[in-house]
Symmetry: C2
Subunit: 197 residues, 2 copies
DNA sequence: CGGTCTCTTGACGGAGTTCAAAGCTAGTGG
DNA sequence: CCACTAGCTTTGAACTCCGTCAAGAGACCG
């Protein structure tokens, strides 16, 4: 297997029993997509025609509100599954944007290939079920952390969980992800560095 | 069909093509659960053994944070599906509580019956896929509304979307759902009634 | 090298919290 | 059926966190 396939295989195997043949099937149906920096897999108003696995690179998933403010929901890195399932399955326009922050390589799947996978690779259906449940749980967890933690606590938690994000992503995007303004993040960082000195 | 079955049938048919026989299958596997006011379907730390459809009554789904504060994530009413899928499928303890606010009647399903449904009622698998996608989208929507709207805007939106909730649920629970303290909700209400007079 | 995008810093303001107390309501048991 | 209590709601005052407006410094790219 080439390195990309191997990553995917290892990743799938963490959740369900997945044979190399299963991974072969999956990759046979995948469309390999290269995104340049700042390119979009989809933008709000479009149909999210693909769901994808991130083999290389880093992206942001975000929404633009009526006042024109961007809200970053998550950063996707290697070994993440990305997309808007609601738009994908229901074939309705997505309100979200998925943009590359670096050159990216994705393995993309259309609804049609997804449905073929269901019959051809039963383990995949099982994976999907578990992955969806986990995704919903993760989204809930994020929502709750916004309620009960201060911005500083959320910043420190992010620093702990994804330390590499800070090397890959400009600071004002981090602020947007944390749900605060860039100025506030700057102040929080200053206060933390003052305090530790 | 009895009235409960008919509600369920109508509800399923809104999302996917669902025959009366399908509904029959579903109900044959359901366990009818009655909850008294203040009783729990599950509490944090337990395994969420059931997923359920609310036939009658009203419940709250909430989390208790390390500081002992309760955060209500949603109120479930008639025709809602409820449960913690992550705990349910992955058989790990749930961090959430599901409590009846009134006497309730649920149609409950265990993981085992769920897996039987998959082979016996293909339309159900399709429903589940779509329902999960919508649930995730709804959770995201809630999270974003917390970021970009003030508490007053969220209050007014709730009033518009679920006017009956205010008759069924004490005000401090509404506050918890909105992500604010009861005092703040009281003040918001006062200001709105002063302004409109 | 110039322009745009990003980060920092300061002063002020507003939304919501905290602490505290008092009034109200509904459920319970005698 | 009334009295009592526990829980719910309201109100006030002080405070905190973060947003807004504004300006300047630094970094990156063509």
């Amino acid at each position: 297997m080439n390195p990309g396939h191997e990553n995917l295989h290892r990743f799938m195997n963490k959740t369900v029993r997945f044979t190399e043949a299963d991974t072969g099937h999956l990759m046979a149906l995948a469309k390999v997509v290269q995104l340049k920096k700042k390119e979009y897999l989809f933008r709000e108003g479009e149909y999210a025609r693909y769901v994808g696995y991130v083999n290389k690179g880093c992206l942001r998933y975000f929404h633009t509100d009526p006042k024109g403010e961007e809200h970053i929901i998550y950063f996707a890195q290697e070994n993440w599954w990305i997309g808007d399932l609601d738009s994908f399955y229901s074939r309705k326009p997505t309100p979200y944007n998925l943009q590359a922050l670096e050159p990216c390589e994705l393995f993309a799947f259309s609804v049609e290939t997804f449905d073929r996978l269901r019959s051809e690779v039963p383990a995949y259906e099982e994976f999907r079920k578990l992955a969806h449940a986990r995704a919903t749980a993760a989204r809930l967890e994020t929502m709750l952390s916004q309620r009960r933690q201060t911005a500083e606590e959320r910043y420190l938690a992010l620093l702990k969980k994804f330390p590499d994000i800070f090397q890959r992503v400009p600071q004002h995007y981090i602020a947007s992800y944390l749900g605060i303004k860039p100025q506030s993040l700057s102040r929080i960082r200053k206060q933390l560095s003052d305090g530790s000195r």
